[in-house]
Symmetry: C2
Subunit: 282 residues, 2 copies
């Protein structure tokens, strides 16, 4: 994998991609990010990701290049990698910039924009064939999860708890209702309908989530309802799956110690995964 | 101010204090920190700060040097600065280390320990003489505020809101009860008693807070009660003050648009500030 890094308008070797210790991303988690999948050289939903990056930045009053410039920078970086065979991912991070440490940020900082390509690291085939286990866990995060910020410590701890339980993901809940996974959204199947929690301040409105709601659901003639989902309802679901840029459409066959449905990958989940693969590899 | 930086066991010039873009502190807020005041060369409550750093790290399973080594490193760094006239502060940050980006952390990372000295930047004298204004604001933070992590984005946004309202601090509340300021704890005076919210998971148990409870209160024969404080009760308080390493003991004379008591620095608050100054400058 090519190890060139985009760093504030320049392409630098990996080992030169260093940031100041007073970059506010390092001292205050004062930044936002995106992860974009690139299938055979084509970034999937590039504009949606860049628009969300700009939106997250705006919510935090972080100065962000315009969408056209972001697009240009990303596409130039991608072109410089010359990777059209292997599927890759692009990690984009925008922090507020560096200044002497103080909570209340100055308004005139120069933001730091970084992009790093990596292999896409899709999950193993058997995860998609056999389904995965998830655990449930109280949602410990702040109340502005709709911003894709780098203040990810609660997500880190949740994901680690999942790994320790030999599970794929930790799905979180507040006040008895499901929010989302530590790095994924959640859907369940009831009859011919898909259900997913509404895009409130308590969830990150994933691009893959939106793709299922707006494109795949209609294409497969499935009704998609955004609705609060109690833990009990989750446990009774016929099928459950997770969505995310690198998770794609991940079938869930076990939640904590309970089987989902028959404990096998659900039929609708399989059709949605197939549709997603067709869409991304078109 | 001397601009030497402690960086993982070495003293480096300021401009060489750079971290990798995949340091997990930068991508996940996966780290902890302390700020220590150094009065005329003497760090105040050094061991308490270092023990809390180790505690925060342990809560997050971040590998941390032993207390004795931390003490040795801090004292050596301090000695290298040769600053015994000016009061300074030491910022200490420990992150989990660098690895290819993934939420669930590997267990074998080499942590990154940084220390940076700065001027103590105490608040202007008139703040202490006249008191300050604070605003109140819903607490948006996660549920593990007792860990002194660098996931400070909600605190950043709260402090910025305060500055914008020309206030010193934003004091936060959950479910109608006061938690703390964005970088300080809160006390109020009722008769001869001091009240402060209990050290739950929703507050950071400040060293200055503990000093008031354990040393200054008893010294001045004041009863100190750790008790949940409703917003209404805060608004009715006779005196209010904030505590913190650089805030020291800060009198509050206005909360949102309301005056506290007579709108002047309270008598007990003044005595506590005097006692704190004696303690730190002993």
């Amino acid at each position: 994998m090519n190890q060139k890094i985009y760093f504030n308008g320049e392409i630098v070797p990996r080992e030169e991609a260093l940031v100041d210790i007073e970059d506010r991303g390092y001292q205050f988690a004062d930044g936002v990010y995106e992860v974009i999948a690139v299938y055979q050289g084509k970034p999937f939903k590039l504009m949606e990701h860049l628009e969300r990056l700009a939106f997250s930045a705006a919510e935090l009053e972080i100065s962000c290049p315009g969408i056209n410039q972001l697009q240009h920078e990303t596409e130039s970086y991608l072109a410089s990698l010359n990777q059209t065979e292997e599927d890759i991912s692009i990690y984009i991070q925008l922090t507020r910039g560096a200044c002497p440490r103080t909570h209340a940020y100055p308004d005139d900082l120069d933001p730091v924009l970084i992009m790093k390509a990596g292999s896409l690291e899709l999950r193993p085939d058997e995860y998609y064939q056999n389904g995965v286990k998830i655990i449930t866990r109280p949602d410990e995060r702040w109340s502005k999860c709709y911003i894709k910020s780098i203040a990810l410590l609660p997500n880190v701890m949740a994901k680690k708890a999942a790994k320790r339980a030999r599970a794929y993901e930790a799905v979180m809940h507040r006040d008895g209702f499901v929010t989302e996974g530590s790095s994924s959204n959640l859907f369940l199947v009831e009859g011919d309908s898909l259900l997913t929690p509404p895009a409130s301040n308590y969830i990150l409105n994933g691009i893959t989530r939106q793709t299922v709601i707006q494109e795949i659901g209609p294409k497969l003639s499935l009704e998609v309802r955004e609705q609060s989902i109690s833990l009990d309802r989750l446990f009774r679901a016929e099928e459950v799956f997770l969505t995310g840029t690198t998770t794609e459409i991940m079938p869930v066959v076990r939640i904590d110690e309970r089987e989902v449905g028959q404990g096998r990958v659900g039929e609708l989940t399989g059709r949605i995964l197939t549709a997603y693969r067709e869409l991304t590899r078109a």
